[in-house]
């Protein structure tokens, strides 16, 4: 151990479902920080703790089954372990499930062969005891050549012992890999680590050879493990897993399985759309009040305007989504933590497969009802490249929560509350129809992409079905907190930047047009809201809106809608605010007055209503399909690491939106 170093860098490494995250939370508590691994949006969780005068920096690596990665997050885990630069790891804590020790030890033997100091934390030791599994610690330590600690990360037992073992960690004398075979196949490689390193840089020819070695080596590891298990573990013949089995027969049942899945969806939607509405309104009102206060208490002028209508308006537009995103992540984390998500994937895989997706696409598809950004980020668990790209490309078609205010406004222009059919409210039916339209379009696009995208890669769906567990509320809370933070900072930056640009475009005009308007208003005694509308019309945004009018006329939009289309590129819901400014309803929160203004808006020449049914439907369809979200495009780029994919996404969604609106408008006109 390097005693000169003041901080010891350790990493938690283990299979998925080994209770790694819970152990990480128990060790580091509130010191955790979430960042990203260089170049990828895979979250990097780092925390710290002190023990016996030494400070520890802990990294919780993504779960992996072996050092031969088969998905993106496994690759990140492996590369971090192999890293030999300045922030290299001093000790690896191997986390293994004591109830399923054999498979978990495969990775352990590979890590030992890297000749890095290791400690084995046998997690969920209480459950192993309940199942009458006895593990002989000393024998296991001797055979593996590293310290072994029994841990229960949920009840936080064994943690002190683990910490002191980490301080004593040493490089094992045991060797598990087949060095004779390696020497024969790769005479130039001097260690197992060099072989593991090689797989990331080698050509196809060599890669085949490595795969051949991997297969034989892993088989021989399991033979060695069979011996180790026989010596060190005593377990009853018949394992008692009846609770999981009973729950499975319900959750994967032909009828109840699907019923339960849709029930859960229903509950999640209720919370995301109705319960979240309360804190969202509260946030909006607080921000509005604060903006008002700032505008009035600071000296008037350009800077004041930028701060209030650029910066604060931008931050408000981000923060307002926090309740929805937090609630959504809360449900998803609980469903994953309990083991239910794996069952949802299990029962839906067959259907998803028909559309070029797989069971693991279910989570991203559901998340995108709140926001496409976290949903694109959650596709990283999909190991198949083609499936992952298809999922990323189509999820933004699913109606996210930013479209909701737009839908609500336009639908309320077309229908009144008293419009009922068989006791159901028309508005509600149309709104539900819009969501179905989004899902339908996403599946259709996936189905088409399935035939377009070509890949040599095998499409497989081999997944562990973990035992059901009660959720760990502390872990859930931490995860939700981290995801919300990540959303605030990642998406937030872009939304904020765009709202500042938009502020400039809407509040500035060429030469001194604004001064002239103001002087005229002074003479004619024009009300402020009308003056604001005039200003917007002559601003840069207004000029752009008029410039694109010929382009959007075929789908029924005028330049006023054009301005809103431009401003919606920051975030779709900005549409409502922009329309409020254009139609000078003065108060953007009051949709009711805006609705009336829009409904009674007449064409200046023909005097016919502007917002006809055809225009409204065209707008609805356009907002359902158009890619009006910079942050989503940026996320697609950072997840795929190629500008090709956000570009394709932008083009196909724009074409789809324009084409559909064109058809809808001309059919209803």
């Amino acid at each position: 151990m390097n005693s000169l170093k003041n901080t010891l860098h350790i990493a938690l490494v283990g299979n998925p479902n080994s209770g790694k995250s819970t152990l990480f939370n128990s060790l580091t508590g509130l010191t955790q920080k979430t960042g990203n691994y260089a170049g990828v949006t895979i979250e990097k969780h780092v925390g710290k703790f002190e023990f016996n005068g030494t400070s520890f920096s802990v990294t919780d690596l993504p779960g992996t089954y072996s050092l031969f990665p088969k998905s993106l997050d496994e690759e990140v885990a492996c590369k971090t372990i192999l890293n030999t630069s300045t922030d290299k790891l001093d000790v690896i804590v191997i986390v293994a499930d004591a109830t399923n020790i054999k498979r978990h030890l495969l990775l352990a033997t590979q890590l030992i062969d890297l000749k890095i100091p290791c400690v084995l934390a046998l997690n969920m030791i209480d459950e192993a005891e309940k199942q009458n599994i006895t593990i002989y610690k000393n024998d296991l330590e001797n055979l593996l050549g590293i310290g072994v600690v029994f841990v229960n990360s949920r009840k936080k037992t064994g943690l002190e012992e683990l910490k002191s073992e980490i301080l004593k960690a040493k490089i094992s004398d045991s060797i598990f890999y087949n060095f004779e075979k390696q020497l024969k196949l790769f005479p130039n490689l001097k260690s197992y680590k060099e072989l593991i390193d090689l797989q990331f840089t080698c050509d196809d020819e060599l890669s085949k050879l490595i795969k051949q070695f991997e297969k034989e080596d892993n088989i021989s590891r399991f033979y060695k493990l069979n011996y180790i298990i026989a010596k060190c573990v005593k377990k009853p013949e018949q394992l008692n897993k009846s609770i999981t089995q009973k729950l499975d027969s319900f959750f994967t049942h032909k009828f109840f399985g699907f019923f339960f899945f849709f029930l859960i969806l229903f509950i999640v939607f209720q919370f995301v759309f109705f319960v979240a509405d309360v804190p969202m309104t509260w946030i909006e009102e607080s921000f509005a009040a604060f903006m008002n206060f700032t505008a009035n208490s600071l000296p008037k002028g350009e800077l004041n305007d930028l701060l209030v209508n650029g910066v604060l308006a931008g931050i408000s537009g981000i923060v307002v989504f926090v309740p929805q995103i937090a609630l959504l992540f809360f449900f998803i984390t609980v469903l994953e933590d309990t083991g239910y998500m794996a069952r949802a994937s299990f029962i839906l895989d067959k259907v998803m497969q028909k559309f070029g997706l797989n069971g693991k696409s279910v989570i991203p598809m559901i998340s995108s009802v709140a926001c496409a950004i976290p949903s694109i980020m959650s596709t990283r668990t999909i190991s198949n490249w083609k499936t992952r790209i298809i999922t990323i490309l189509v999820t933004p078609l699913i109606s996210c929560s930013a479209r909701l205010p737009v839908y609500t406004l336009i639908i309320s222009i077309m229908f009144k509350d008293e419009h009922m059919i068989y006791g159901f409210n028309y508005k509600g039916i149309v709104l539900m129809g819009m969501y179905l339209l989004g899902f339908g379009a996403a599946f259709l696009a996936a189905f088409i992409l399935k035939f377009i995208l070509k890949t040599k890669e095998k499409n497989y769906f081999i997944m562990e079905l973990p035992v059901y567990r009660m959720p760990q509320w502390q872990t859930v809370g931490m995860l939700v907190l981290k995801k919300v933070k990540l959303f605030l900072f990642n998406a937030g930056k872009i939304i904020l930047a765009i709202s500042i640009v938009l502020w400039f475009l809407t509040s500035h005009a060429p030469s001194n047009v604004f001064t002239q308007l103001e002087e005229k208003a002074l003479v004619l005694n024009t009300p402020t809201d009308v003056l604001n509308a005039q200003k917007l019309e002559h601003s840069y945004a207004g000029i752009f809106g008029k410039k694109i009018e010929p382009l959007i006329e075929p789908i029924g939009f005028d330049w006023k809608i054009g301005i809103s289309l431009i401003t919606s590129f920051a975030a779709r819901e900005v549409f409502v605010g922009t329309m409020a400014t254009i139609y000078s309803s003065g108060d953007s929160d009051n949709t009711e007055t805006l609705r009336e203004k829009l409904a009674s808006e007449k064409d200046s020449v023909t005097q016919s209503p502007v917002y006809t049914t055809a225009v409204c439907w065209s707008l609805l369809v356009f907002y359902a399909f158009a890619m009006q979200c910079m942050s989503t495009l940026a996320t697609t780029y950072s997840e795929t690491k190629h500008w090709k994919w956000p570009f394709i996404q932008l083009v196909f969604m724009s074409v789809l939106a324009y084409g559909s609106s064109f058809i809808v408008f001309n059919l209803l006109k």
């Binding site: 088989i219 027969s249 029962i347 895989d349 259907v351 497969q353 095998k458 081999i462």
Partner: protein
Amino acid sequence: MTLDQLKLGQTAIVQEFTDDFLSLKFIEMGCLPGEIVKVVNIAPMQDPIAIEVSGYVLSLRKQEASTVVVTLLNDVVLNKTN
């Protein structure tokens, strides 16, 4: 016979694999020649299936299961417990 042909509740021993790429994944998941596997669940639309192997449950598609050659251990077909 291959793994996808097993009925619910049937137990078999893994013999070999017919797909190189998938075999790597199977082995790393502890499903290797000599292991005993048991079909414990079949999804509502008959695909994927779930097998018990090495002390835990693994889900896989029938198409993937068809690359695993197995020998049947018994012919006892248990009824699904529901």
